[in-house]
């Protein structure tokens, strides 16, 4: 069987990595894949062994001709959208094309359904008061491939959950020690990977979104500077300017190839992210690496509302209050600086994935500091999270292999 993947993310790597992970897991079953991607994903695909075609927004509508040509020469049996959300958005926005131009190939269209669309109302809360409506076309598609995590493992005739990652990124103690020494750390220093993607620092032509993108790192730095000096921070690629205040405790390295990033990921003691849906977090969990996610559930438009939040949290530090005063209005977010809060309600509900990492409310300073301290230094908390990860991984291991899942799904469209 031959699959043509559209991995059209122009902002982050996660969607392409999910598609590549699926393709890699299907390869032993003799399934051939071909990727169509945006320039930013080329570095992931180069050297991966998967053939690919790069589309560029400068091609405009002519990009379709290249897709036509690829379909004619590769002759796929089905099209995989990696993922559905990205696919729907990219072609209209960047190429001026109706995304469903692919209908004319008369091939089955299989969406990778990261967000469990069937459980949503197809409206994504993006920034303060700004929502994005998404095409409901996925509901007509006979098969939804859901990567786990973050999706639930629940199946249905239409839903086919598959393990996101087969591999384990853990590295040897020798490599961990070597990297610590290379970064100038003592053996027992704690290495925290601050997972901040390029898209989290983009400008969104939205005053609220841009302000929150800029200000949240200030609050994060305020927290991180209170951790013991033995806590060191690793950042990859473009770094928010505010994080430079971490000084010598932050180690910045250029954007990484996947193999370098794997070494890094496997060597750290903690992944810290403000993106609940981060693929890096999912990979960390699947590699038994601790994670901590900071999100914000509060919508605060004006200063008087700060007291309400303080009451709900059972207190608020002066620093957070001062930061809030400078930052308002604030909207709820689970994928900073994007909101995705209400939108993610269904996917986080009763999801055992959430028990595999620590979580704290961004505005709750004592909670953030205590979560950081506990995941890094408290053996009891570490063991508890490790047990949750182990249980989760055990459940995943009992799930049929991705090739089997895919074969079952294929029966639905063939």
């Amino acid at each position: 069987m031959k699959l043509l993947f559209f991995a059209m993310s122009s902002a982050g790597y996660g969607e392409t990595l999910i598609g590549m992970s699926l393709a890699r897991q299907l390869r032993p079953a003799g399934i051939e894949t071909y990727f169509i991607c945006e320039p930013m994903s080329e570095k992931l695909l180069r050297g991966s062994g998967f053939p690919y075609l790069v589309l560029d927004r400068s091609m405009g509508g002519f990009a379709r001709l290249l897709v036509d040509d690829t379909v004619a020469s590769f002759r796929p049996d089905a099209i995989v959208l990696s993922d559905y959300f990205t696919y729907c958005g990219v072609f209209p926005k960047r190429y001026g094309l109706d995304p469903w131009f692919i209908d004319r190939y008369r091939l089955p269209i299989i969406p990778i359904d990261i967000w469990e669309w069937a459980n949503t109302d197809f409206a994504v809360d993006v920034f303060d008061g700004k929502a994005m409506t998404v095409d409901r076309r996925i509901m007509e598609m006979p098969v939804h491939l859901r990567p786990v995590p973050i999706a639930h493992l629940d199946e249905s005739p239409q839903i086919y959950p598959f393990r996101l990652w087969e591999g384990n990124e853990r590295v040897s103690r020798r490599t961990r020690d070597h990297l610590r020494e290379t970064f100038g750390m003592a053996k027992d220093d704690k290495m925290v990977l601050l997972a901040v993607a390029g898209w989290q620092q983009d400008k969104y032509s939205d005053d609220n979104g841009d302000r929150i993108a800029e200000r949240v790192p200030e609050l994060l730095v305020h927290y991180l500077r209170q951790t013991p000096p033995t806590t060191r921070f690793i950042l990859v690629g473009k770094v928010p300017p505010a994080l430079e205040a971490l000084g010598d405790r932050a180690h910045v390295i250029p954007p990484c190839s996947p193999s370098r990033f794997n070494v890094l990921l496997g060597s750290v003691d903690l992944i810290l992210t403000l993106n609940l849906g981060a693929t890096t977090l999912a990979r960390a969990v699947l590699s038994d690496i601790p994670g901590l996610v900071l999100t914000n559930r509060f919508s605060i438009s004006e200063k008087p509302e700060i007291d309400r939040v303080e009451a709900e949290l059972g207190g608020m530090s002066e620093d957070v209050r001062s930061w809030l005063t400078r930052t308002l209005p604030l909207y709820p977010f689970r994928m900073w600086p994007l909101g995705f809060h209400r939108f993610l309600d269904p996917i986080v509900a009763d999801n055992p994935y959430l028990s595999t990492f620590a979580h704290a409310e961004l505005l709750d300073e004592p909670a953030v500091l205590s979560a950081l301290d506990e995941v890094l230094y408290d053996r009891e908390v570490q063991d508890g999270l490790a047990a949750n990860r182990a249980a989760y991984l055990e459940t995943l291991a009992a799930h049929p292999s991705t090739a089997e899942v895919f074969t079952s799904a294929a029966r639905r469209w063939t």
């Binding site: 590295v171 040897s172 020798r174 490599t175 020690d177 070597h178 990297l179 020494e181 290379t182 970064f183 100038g184 180690h251 910045v252 390295i253 250029p254 954007p255 990484c256 370098r260 070494v263 890094l264």
Partner: protein, 303 residues
């Protein structure tokens, strides 16, 4: 010089934080002995004047002497080994290598004291062994070239390192720019000196070394960084190196490095040194940008 160059192992008995091969990150050895022999057979009688063995650490390869015997059997005229020199502390071992045709050891020396060297190589006790290894190489009548990667940890001691080399009777001192790949990728931020730092510490060392009989070369530096000593660049266009590296053959190693590993940026436009310059390591420019580069004054040699 027409050289056959072979990466014979990924593994190493040191853990340099700037290792370009990433040996400390290697879990297993990707090099197959059969491929090494195949490469030697394929190139025998093709006019190569030397074979250069490197790794990882070639002296820990379990079949090193088999390899040397094959090289001799195939009548390659000369063998060089790039090594950290630790195993050369054993004089008998060093003499055996000499007897098997090794005529040059290229020894990694990154510190003038155990504190610096052992920190950079993450190998306590390594410095003393390396120094003894250099002495043994000279005792065995084998020429020694040292290679020193300039880092923020050793740049202030570069003069001492070079003086130590002269005192040890080293024949040739090579100073290398940190190439941020392998382990070096992770070390870039902490260990790679800026252009200003490099020039501040390197230029006086060059002046000192030029007053000694010991040969000095510089490797991997954009020429604007080392001007007015561009003529000391080891990549002088006369080397012809065919390299086997982790299963891949590079017919022109220097060309490969220039084309794949280094690049040019805005300050290079119109630079009179450009035609001879390999450019800046991509990873360095990605992290620190291009503002540091470019000729501030006309070059006496290139401009």
């Amino acid at each position: 010089m027409k050289q056959l160059s072979m990466h014979i192992t990924d593994l190493c008995n040191e853990k340099c934080g700037f290792c370009v091969v990433g040996s400390p990150l290697a879990k297993t050895d990707s090099v197959a002995y059969g491929d090494l022999i195949g490469f030697l057979l394929e190139n025998a009688g093709q006019g190569f004047t030397s074979v250069n063995l490197h790794g990882g650490e070639p002296t820990i390869h379990p079949r090193l002497f088999d390899l040397l015997r094959t090289i001799r059997l195939l009548k390659y005229p000369r063998v060089e080994i790039q090594t950290n020199g630790r195993r050369l502390k054993d004089l008998d071992f060093t003499r055996r290598l000499a007897e098997h045709g090794v005529e040059l050891f290229v020894v990694s020396l990154h510190g003038s004291t155990a504190l610096i060297q052992d920190s950079l190589t993450q190998t306590p006790g390594g410095f003393a062994e390396t120094i003894e290894g250099i002495r043994n190489a000279k005792r065995a009548g084998v020429a020694v070239r040292t290679n020193t990667v300039i880092t923020r940890m050793n740049m202030g001691r570069l003069m001492d390192i070079c003086r130590l080399c002269v005192d040890l009777g080293v024949d040739h001192v090579n100073i290398s720019n940190l190439h941020p790949v392998g382990s070096g990728f992770f070390a870039l931020d902490m260990q790679a000196p800026t252009v200003a730092e490099t020039r501040r510490f390197l230029l006086p060392v060059i002046e000192m070394m030029l007053a000694t009989p010991t040969r000095l070369t510089l490797e991997g530096f954009p020429l604007c960084v080392i001007t007015p000593h561009e003529d000391l660049a080891i990549e002088d266009g006369t080397r012809q190196i065919r390299m086997l590296y982790q299963g891949q053959v590079h017919d022109d190693y220097d060309g490969f490095m220039d084309e794949q590993m280094r690049g040019y940026g805005p300050p290079c436009a119109g630079c009179p040194l450009r035609a001879r310059c390999g450019g800046v390591y991509h990873e360095y420019a990605e992290r620190r940008g291009w503002r540091e580069f470019g000729l501030r004054e006309p070059s006496s040699v290139g401009g």
